[in-house]
């Protein structure tokens, strides 16, 4: 056990974090507006990836309808702001709560489904959400045109509207989210999720309330996506159903799987690949899907655990060789 970034001398690690922090703060002074905006979307998708990572990565529930919760957050912000003029910053927690409520309502009846079945239901839910938004129920969502004129957030009288304002705002929220999730990972809840992912039946037999824990994961994941939706809505000031299509759910899912399920740095790396890299290769836009498909196939062959896997996954693959005392071969287990 002598490899991996987490085994570096802590001094180097601190230096690396410091350099990263300074770089992140200085970035808007060095980049042009276009690249600041890329970084903003990078941040929003990191949030979305983190939100889905709770459901897919921590607990292992397949969810291909995450865009629906993103939409709930964005539309509740848009509707409540344009109709009732509630400041959008107040709506940040509120849209998170509403999305979490939706997460509860949706997951409650389908939690007993497993794997691919759950996946299919979540796809269906995502599509229902998109079609509903498109059909302008009660004149609330504006149909295919969406909602325009969403206000900008104001913090103590300071109005955020420039890309670099948003840059600091978004990445501050990303930072807070990462700190909170880190703590959650090591809490009783985080451990319970981990056990459920490994072996649901054994977890239940150990006294873990499996359904409650799954429900909690769905609510937190949905809530965080709702928060991202709020940010997106205020940043764009215009939202429409097409921004919350099935493709968005696929992107989020790919971010989690590509980076390494259950891994926060994995989500960041995954988002880098899915959101930022395509910007670098704009010239190849036509071949994008081709390159993307090829990359996926290569990943599956050479790095199935993800680009930056959670510590557990890495151990699982390497431990058999490393953890045994010298001279002892791993034993083959019957029925294990």
């Amino acid at each position: 056990m002598s490899r991996g970034w987490h085994n570096w001398d802590p001094r180097y690690l601190k230096l690396a974090y410091l350099a990263l922090g300074v770089g992140a703060v200085a970035y808007p002074f060095l980049a042009n507006t276009y690249w600041i905006d890329v970084a903003n979307f990078f941040g929003i998708y990191v949030l979305l990836g983190l939100s889905l990572n709770i459901i897919v990565g921590y607990v292992g529930l397949f969810n291909l309808g995450q865009a629906a919760f993103y939409a709930v957050g964005a539309y509740s912000t848009a509707i409540l702001n344009t109709a009732f003029h509630i400041p959008v910053l107040w709506l940040l927690p509120l849209s998170g709560l509403l999305a979490a409520l939706m997460g509860y309502l949706i997951s409650r009846p389908i939690l007993h489904l497993r794997g691919d079945y759950l996946c299919i239901v979540t796809i269906g839910f995502g599509e229902i959400m998109r079609i509903t938004l498109n059909n302008n129920p009660f004149g609330l969502t504006g149909g295919p045109n969406g909602i325009m004129g969403i206000a900008r957030p104001e913090i103590l009288g300071f109005r955020l509207f420039q890309p670099h304002h948003y840059y600091y705002f978004i990445w501050l929220i990303v930072l807070l989210t990462v700190i909170a999730l880190k703590r959650l990972e090591n809490s009783r809840i985080g451990r319970a999720w981990h056990y459920i992912r490994e072996d649901e039946l054994a977890a239940a037999a150990m006294g873990i309330d499996v359904n409650r824990m799954k429900l909690l994961a769905f609510m937190l994941g949905a809530g965080l996506a709702g928060v991202a939706g709020n940010i997106y809505a205020t940043k764009m000031t215009v939202i429409a159903p097409e921004s919350f299509s099935f493709w968005e759910s696929v992107v989020m899912f790919t971010i989690v799987v590509l980076g390494g399920p259950g891994s926060i740095p994995g989500v960041v790396v995954g988002t880098l690949c899915m959101v930022v890299l395509p910007e670098l290769f704009r010239e190849f836009a036509k071949a994008r899907m081709l390159v993307f498909g090829l990359a996926m196939i290569l990943m599956m062959i050479f790095r199935p655990e993800g680009l930056w896997p959670a510590r557990r996954y890495r151990e699982e693959i390497r431990s058999a060789k490393e953890e045994l005392p010298a001279g002892q071969k791993p034993e083959t287990l019957s029925g294990a």
């Binding site: 009783r188 451990r191 319970a192 056990y195 490994e198 072996d199 039946l201 054994a202 977890a203 239940a204 037999a205 150990m206 006294g207 873990i208 309330d209 499996v210 557990r312 996954y313 151990e315 699982e316 431990s319 058999a320 953890e323 045994l324 791993p330 034993e331 287990l333 019957s334 029925g335 294990a336």
Partner: protein
Amino acid sequence: MAMLAVENLHVSYGHVHALKGITFELKEGEILALLGANGAGKSTTLRAISGLVAPRAGRILFAGKDLGKVPAHEIVRMGVAHAPEGRRVFATLTVEENLILGGYSRGRDRKGLEETRRQVYELFPRLYERRRQLAGTLSGGEQQMLSIGRALMAAPRLLLLDEPSLGLAPLLVREIFQTIKEINARGVTILLVEQNARAALRLAHRGVVLEAGRMVLAGSARELLGDERVKKAYLGEK
């Protein structure tokens, strides 16, 4: 009053009627062996008791309380721990982390948990030696020890053991059974499911024989060991 009373228990998996009316009792401090061939319903009985499958009919009373509608995690809290078939240890966690998980239901009782962990290591010194090793790299026998130790971490009054001898070398089986006896001597009531009928009956006070979801025999371990039908069907004697 019996610690555990199973009354006319029926369980179905879809259309398969796995248990067709089982009735038995377990007194405090006892070891009861549940015997039978593959598919007789032994594991299903344990799963019904620990709340992992829902009974279709009948009652399960633990210390006088009906477990029928109680969810699995609450049952653990009431003092019933289950070491499931196939061990099901968490391969990617270390031995110690597996044990910590076993005490999950006891919340933040740090002192009590530490004390129980010490006792588990005392029962299974091998686990102590390997406490930092990942459970997936343990041998079959060690995994079985871990599975039992993990169940003990919940500080159960009733321990459900599902085929602890499965896939183990004869010498290890003896060691495990010796430890089960020791656990029982420390005051834990045990319901033991086994295919190894001879070893189980030597250890248990009483036995119950299941066949295709029904009870066919029940009695003291000594009686069962001497019974012609048991000898023929399960002990391999003529």
